[in-house]
Symmetry: C2
């Protein structure tokens, strides 16, 4: 078996413009509303000033050991924003925050507010719980983002010093200790830092942290009292990473781990890591993923339970977990150029990630269930505030998920109106998409070339689409004959004058879950293109568990420009059970009767943006 | 408004024989297998010898503060058995156990193993948690039962001494303290002790303990650390008992409280207590009770959640809670002579209580969910072993639930083949039932009278039955014209030669849940007579969530003499979804197809007596 070679490299978000009606307004809101609102929350809750190290015992609030990561993810998001939308005020604000962080760094390079002012004696004492290396990882990602956006080394230098210190503490060599973080993150962050600095020690340290998992006894064992039980699978410590085949435990941790494994596999050619990632991917996406791309079936462990256990109303589906799935999918896609990864990435992007933020950009879901009796609503902030800055950094860098380049040419993973600036066949080129995707499946692609060039254009054929067609200057292309791993492969000499028209038919699809998914037995969901739909009380004034969608019900679509920022809704001739006489009865031999009900389904990602009410993705079918 | 007068008094179980094919074998097994098996468990786990007070720090096992109650309930059950089935060995064994208990009584009358040898300094220190008065209550019930069965005062004297001591500690008077038990039980026990001894102080003390609930601040408040939050509704301490209208908290505690309230209302004529009981009854039975008579929707608080929240697979439905519901229903029935209470009592007796013990009498359910994926099975015993001796005492005294006497004559609440010995119109009489109930609804009743007597015979008209008919010596009786609160009232001069034939038609009934019960939306259950049915994997080799029972499916019944001790099964022409090609898919646009499947439903109470497998009461309907 040959070593792994990464097939693709993403076209960076800085080279991709997005001008559509779906994402562009969300990206503008992210920039104009979410980033300032999150900064205000960080400041009001003391997270920013905590870096002044002025906390003393007895003061409230007490900094939490994961606070640093909230600030870090905001810096990362703000830096991405700065990279595409220069903003001197934001630039200055970032400088100020970074100066505070730099000031909190200890003489030895260590940097963590909690373990400097609150519990200094506990430095590295409980890696299983304390998120120390996790916080370091997020600060490293922030440092790389800030450096790339601004060219400044202010945070990057701080974080390489910290990384060097961590590298002096942990590792195989003499005088180094074992251990890894209970919450993965530093693994993928060190690979980013390696890319930014070309310092190979960071890559080796990442690999070391990966390899620490699954030891017998666990590297965390000494952190527990004798006889105290702990579930090693909660933080994916049950097996060495290359032997893992089933997703376990906390879903966000799992996604960050697998992302780190994919990163290291891509750098080192470690086939064992890639194979493990592929097994884990199958286990996740074939047995443990919601239709929305949400993952994590229970609040109990914020993660995975049993195969096919996908309850809808108690689904955890943390926003961060769906984002983590996008990260991992994107990495697997670069490694393999296989569209199956892009399919899941798209599913999560259009559904389970962006449901995490309101359309006005100010309120956030931590949990994204697929059914609600009406009591689940977004909040301004959370005590554990991982999700808000996570969705902000995803959106601020969304363009990076659209295109890749490789030996096989240009890859289009996502259909989004806008333009990518690419280097192909030795020249700077552009690739422009014109489309109303995801509301319409017609995509017109045009190239901008200085001179004719020979290269392949690879257009993703989404898994949800049957019957895609394509023409180049009106000439049909045989799709089946030109498909490679889910991409339509168009290898020719392009002049730049061609008009490439891809048509992805988007009928309303009735979706069914695998027979083993007990929670979805007898139920159907509606999907159109990549968008998963739901019924919300605002449009459907009946108890949603009393609504039935007959299998032969007519479904039609309508673009509603004034609804929820402009969405295509699905309208269906459904039925609703009308209560009979239930006075004095809890059980009865008389069934209620069904009456026609005109149902309106909205994109799942847009629910809970109007008056609070119930919501349901999976509907009863007859 | 007039004060409460208790309308009926039960005919004691000692005057009722049961000779049917449903209960009689269970009662024999309870006597021959369950009682010895439970004694063995009590002994093996150290609960009996704990009364020797020989425990010293460092010894294992450490007695638990509710151990005394497990032994007490077994004594109560064994005494009931002795009362109807003399057994010198059991009599001697009871004497031995009681001697140990008597030896554990302290000079001041106090009696509790844990707070004598393990934590003597905590006597009465944490009434909210410690179950001290609860244990006392169960020992009082045991003492009364033993005295009534044997005429011996050995345990009764011990417990009156203890009761007198408790009465010297708690109460309104000078030198007495406030407080009541976090787990109700002593309230109803003190009323039993009052009946056995005619000592009115015990009734007043019961009333005192009732009245302690719902104070502001709570009588438990001082047991919590400053700032520590506790949910007063967990132990029904959120409101004064006469102001309560909604069932809350731990279901067993609630049932024992309401039973005590009904007891005191019956003794003192306290209308406020009765009205509260009636409101609580409606709230329980119209919004918070499973079809099986099981109660308690979640493991979290072992109790009630929100109205109509009745999930099937995560139902708690503790065996003790259904038993407690029988206790409360029986008391409400005596107070009111209203059959609604007997209807629920019957529902719980035939379904949610006796599901708690295996047909062989050796294994027990603590939780009785209405759906299982196959992982829920009875156990030999539990660390918290309240349920096994509770079901034993219920079964050993089952005859006491069949008949009552009152100013309005004889009441037949349950149809069970056998005989009741009654005192009516100044003479000793018998009332004999011949029936195959619950498998058949024909009941032949005959009276044994020394001479003609004028009195009313009141026959319950079950809520599940439409179209009951009755003849006396072949002459039809107009049921509608002679109904009183759900009883057919036959007031005449009886010679004893009459043949009274009641016919209760028992078609298979399809049952639906109230529209607000989300968990049962689109589902149907099968019931026949008082018996709730379920599908079990042993008879139905398909994933039960894939089974569909069309609304027009033919259902037939068949008595299966060799199955599960002899049960009537329901056979139905159902459907099952046959999986299509799901290779590599978790979601698909292709629905599975339905194929005919011959379904066999068994009585819910008999499930998990064969090979372990899935079970489901509520079935998908089309």
């Amino acid at each position: 078996m040959s070593a792994v070679t990464r097939r693709l490299s993403p076209v960076p978000f800085t080279a991709v413009s997005i001008t559509d009606s779906f994402w562009a307004p969300r990206l503008a809101t992210n920039r104009d509303v979410t980033l300032p609102a999150e900064y205000a929350q960080l400041q009001q809750t003391g997270r920013i000033d905590a870096f002044d190290l002025s906390w003393k015992p007895g003061m409230e609030p007490v900094p939490h050991y994961f606070w640093d990561s909230d600030v870090a993810k905001w810096i990362e998001a703000a830096s991405y924003s700065l990279a595409t939308h220069p903003d001197p005020e934001l630039d200055t604000l970032l400088d100020e925050v970074i100066a505070k962080i730099a000031g909190a760094q200890q003489p030895d390079g260590y940097l963590n507010v909690y373990f400097t002012v609150v519990a200094p004696e506990q430095r590295w004492a409980n890696l299983h719980v304390h998120h120390e290396l996790y916080c370091a990882g997020h600060l490293m990602e922030a440092a790389v983002a800030h450096h790339q956006a601004t060219g400044k080394r202010t945070l990057l230098d701080v974080m390489t010093r910290y990384a060097d210190y961590i590298d002096s503490v942990f590792g195989e060599g003499p005088g180094h200790r074992s251990g890894t973080c209970g919450h993965e993150e530093i693994e993928l962050a060190l690979v980013k830092l390696y890319h930014a600095t070309s310092e190979e020690r960071y890559l080796r340290l990442s690999e070391f942290f990966l390899n620490q998992r699954g030891q017998k006894p666990s590297v965390f064992a000494h952190e527990f009292a004798p006889g105290e039980s702990f579930d090693t699978s909660y933080c994916q410590d049950h097996l060495p990473v290359r032997e893992q085949s089933e997703v376990t435990g906390h879903a966000v941790r799992a996604m960050y781990l697998y992302s780190g494994m994919a990163d290291v596999a891509g750098e080192t050619g470690d086939e064992g890591l890639l194979r493990a990632c592929q097994r884990l991917w199958d286990h996740l996406t074939l047995k443990n993923m919601y239709l929305t791309g949400g993952i994590g079936s229970t609040r109990h462990n914020e993660g995975f339970t049993r195969d096919y256990d996908l309850p809808n109303d108690t689904a955890y589906c943390e926003t961060c977990a769906a984002i983590g799935l996008v990260f991992w999918a994107h990495r697997m896609l670069q490694l393999t150029a296989d569209s199956r990864y892009a399919d899941v990435m798209e599913r999560a992007l259009y559904n389970g990630t962006i449901s995490g933020v309101s359309l006005d950009g100010k309120r956030f879901f931590y949990e994204n269930p697929l059914e609600s009796a009406g009591h689940h609503h977004r909040q301004d902030w959370f005590g554990c505030a991982c999700c808000p800055p996570n969705i902000a950094r995803l959106l601020a860098s969304l363009g990076g998920y659209v295109y890749s380049l490789g030996d096989d040419g240009v890859f289009v993973h996502l259909y989004v109106q806008g333009e990518g600036r690419l280097r192909v066949a030795g020249q700077d080129a552009t690739l422009r998409q014109q489309t109303d995707y995801p509301w319409d499946g017609a995509v017109r692609l045009t190239l901008g070339l200085a001179e004719p060039a020979t290269f392949a254009l690879n257009l993703r054929l989404p898994d949800w689409c049957a019957g895609a067609t394509l023409t180049v200057d009106g000439e049909p292309v045989d799709i089946a004959a030109n498909s490679r791993q889910g991409y339509l492969h168009l290898d020719r000499t392009w002049t730049g004058d061609e008009v490439i028209e891809l048509t992805l038919p988007m009928p309303v699809q009735r979706v069914y879950a695998h027979p083993a998914v007990r929670a979805d037995a007898g139920l159907v969901a509606l999907q159109r293109g990549p968008v998963v739909y739901c019924l919300e009380a605002a449009d459907n004034p009946w108890p949603l568990h009393r609504v039935v969608l007959p299998r032969d019900a007519t479904c039609s679509v309508r673009y509603a420009p004034d609804l929820l920022g402009g969405v295509t809704v699905i309208e269906a001739e459904g039925l609703v059970e009308v209560p009979g006489d239930w006075e004095g009865k809890l059980y009865s031999a008389t069934p209620d009767t069904l009456q026609p009900a005109r149902l309106t389904a909205i994109p799942y990602c847009t629910w809970d943006n109007r008056e609070p009410g119930a919501m349901r993705v999976w509907l009863r079918e007859t």
